[in-house]
């Protein structure tokens, strides 16, 4: 388990505890420290397929802890161009490094304007309290 709560300022947040790190027309998605802490030890990540499309505010993957399964919500819409296949063998990376090696998918954005609906770090953190 990662030790303390952290929320990097370099990315945008969805209120369902997901993050998007935008680099041009491609964004990387993952879940926040809060989400992995609430889940507990992640034991299984079921990724979507490369080439499939994701829609903002809808789920695109499942993440399971020992206790329960949770949907992972897409913060933005687009087409999956890469999935983090390393998570198949080491899903606990999602707990250990949720903003780095625990990333889930990379998405070619279909509507970059959607990011206006996301929260910046400060607003996301205040939404948690």
């Amino acid at each position: 388990m990662s030790s303390g709560a952290s929320y990097p300022e370099d990315r945008l947040y969805h209120c369902e505890h997901d993050w998007a790190l935008i680099d041009g027309e491609v964004a990387t998605f993952g879940i926040t420290w809060f989400a992995q802490d609430a889940l507990g030890e992640v034991v299984f990540f079921d990724p979507p397929e490369v080439g499939s499309s994701v829609t903002a505010n809808e789920f695109y993957a499942e993440v399971e802890s020992v206790k329960a399964v949770s949907d992972v919500i897409a913060p933005l819409s687009g087409e999956i161009v890469e999935v983090n296949t390393a998570l198949a063998d080491t899903p606990e990376t999602i707990n250990e490094d949720p903003y780095g090696a625990g990333w889930m998918v990379k998405v070619k954005l279909s509507d970059p304007g959607e990011q206006d609906a996301l929260l910046d770090c400060e607003n996301y953190v205040s939404s948690l309290s």
Binding site: M1, G40, V43, F44, D46, V66, K67
Partner: protein, 361 residues
């Protein structure tokens, strides 16, 4: 709707101080896990010792000349075979043979018994026993407020508890009074983890100091989540999941805990199912590939998963499911619809994990 007030065990402050995540469970605010997580707790019980607060479970004390007659009437097992200082597992059934609860009963004295109930069924169990006691000379005491209950489980559990006991601990499936840290406790050689260990029924006022001492002596505090993964590896039933009023003991594989000749409530229904053979059977299973089946997932071709998790000991998805009886043989392959994805599973033998059989684990 107002939020119902959750009950707290005498150990609530200890749990909070230890960094537990506390969740509502059957009307109680209970620790689901502590700071180091479910896996660490699970491994502690498999390799050393863990301690669980199970004070949410209820106790019913029955005494008097007809105490045995009452228990023979309501419990499926043959209470006349329970010796003083012994423990016996049984079910409580309705007339139709549906399961109302599963419980352990201890014979304290020739005409005095203590029965441990599931938290969610306790009030209904007490009411049921009072109804069934009509015409019998028996006193039924709701003992829930009288006891805190701690389970110390794992290969080191007995050694840890022995060190604070005035005399040797009862053997497995035995129970007796001991002086533990200067206070009287009912020590039971029972548990719900598949490991050796004891369950301690103590005065609520003694619970906190006892908990702290056992933790100090090396038992790891464990929450309800690890209790669930441990019991599922051991293939112990969980009421509300694997047992319910909708299904009977034979379907659940608990025919060994039923003695129909005693004429218990529901005996005729149970006898009929045993004779004809159940339509469905509860089987333990493992998932053959990736994925984890969960409670409520349909079995393709009929049946459903009633418990499912990732086995921390085996590293694969495990569970229990009701399947058509003709497909319940060990080794039989079947498929489970896990949220729209088909997962391959195979009927396994009990238990799913055994301390003694683990050679490469």
């Amino acid at each position: 709707m107002p939020t119902p007030t959750l009950k707290r065990t005498p150990l609530f402050d200890s749990h909070r101080d230890a960094g537990a995540k506390l969740v509502p469970f059957a009307g109680w605010e209970m620790p689901v896990q502590y700071a180091d997580g479910i896996r660490a707790e699970h491994v502690a019980v498999r390799t050393a010792a863990g301690i669980f607060d199970v004070s949410h479970m209820g106790e019913v004390e029955t005494s008097g000349p007809d105490a045995e007659a009452l228990l023979q009437r309501v419990l499926t097992n043959d209470i006349s075979k329970l010796a003083i200082g012994g423990a016996q597992y049984a079910l409580l059934c309705n007339e139709a043979g549906g399961v109302l609860d599963d419980l352990f009963t201890y014979r304290i004295a020739p005409d005095r018994f203590l029965t441990v109930t599931n938290a969610s069924n306790h009030d209904a169990d007490v009411a049921w026993m009072r109804d069934q006691a009509a015409g019998l000379d028996v006193e039924i005491h709701d003992g829930r407020e009288s006891y805190a209950m701690l389970a110390v489980q794992g290969p080191r559990a007995r050694e840890i508890v022995q060190a604070v006991s005035d005399s040797p601990l009862p053997d497995r499936m035995q129970a007796g009074r001991r002086i533990i840290r200067g206070a009287s406790a009912l020590v039971c050689g029972t548990g719900y983890t598949g490991e050796d260990g004891v369950e301690l029924l103590v005065d609520p006022e003694d619970a906190s100091a006892l908990w702290d001492d056992i933790v100090r002596r090396g038992a790891v505090p464990c929450g309800l989540a690890a209790r669930d993964t441990l019991r599922l590896e051991a293939c112990f039933h969980l009421y509300g999941n694997d047992l319910s009023i909708e299904r009977g003991p034979i379907e659940a594989g608990l025919g060994w805990a039923c003695s129909e000749d005693t004429g218990f409530v529901g005996a005729d229904a149970v006898r009929a199912v045993r004779a004809a053979g159940p339509r469905e059977k509860l089987v333990p299973f493992t998932i053959s590939g990736p994925g984890i089946a969960r409670e409520g997932n349909p079995v393709i071709g009929g049946g459903e998963v009633t418990s499912g998790t990732l086995s921390p000991s085996l590293g694969i998805g495990i569970g229990m499911a009701y399947v058509p009886a003709q497909r319940a043989n060990v080794g039989e392959r079947f498929e489970i619809d896990v949220r729209g994805k088909t997962r391959a599973a195979v009927v396994a033998s009990k238990p799913l994990y055994s301390h003694d059989e683990q050679t490469d684990g």
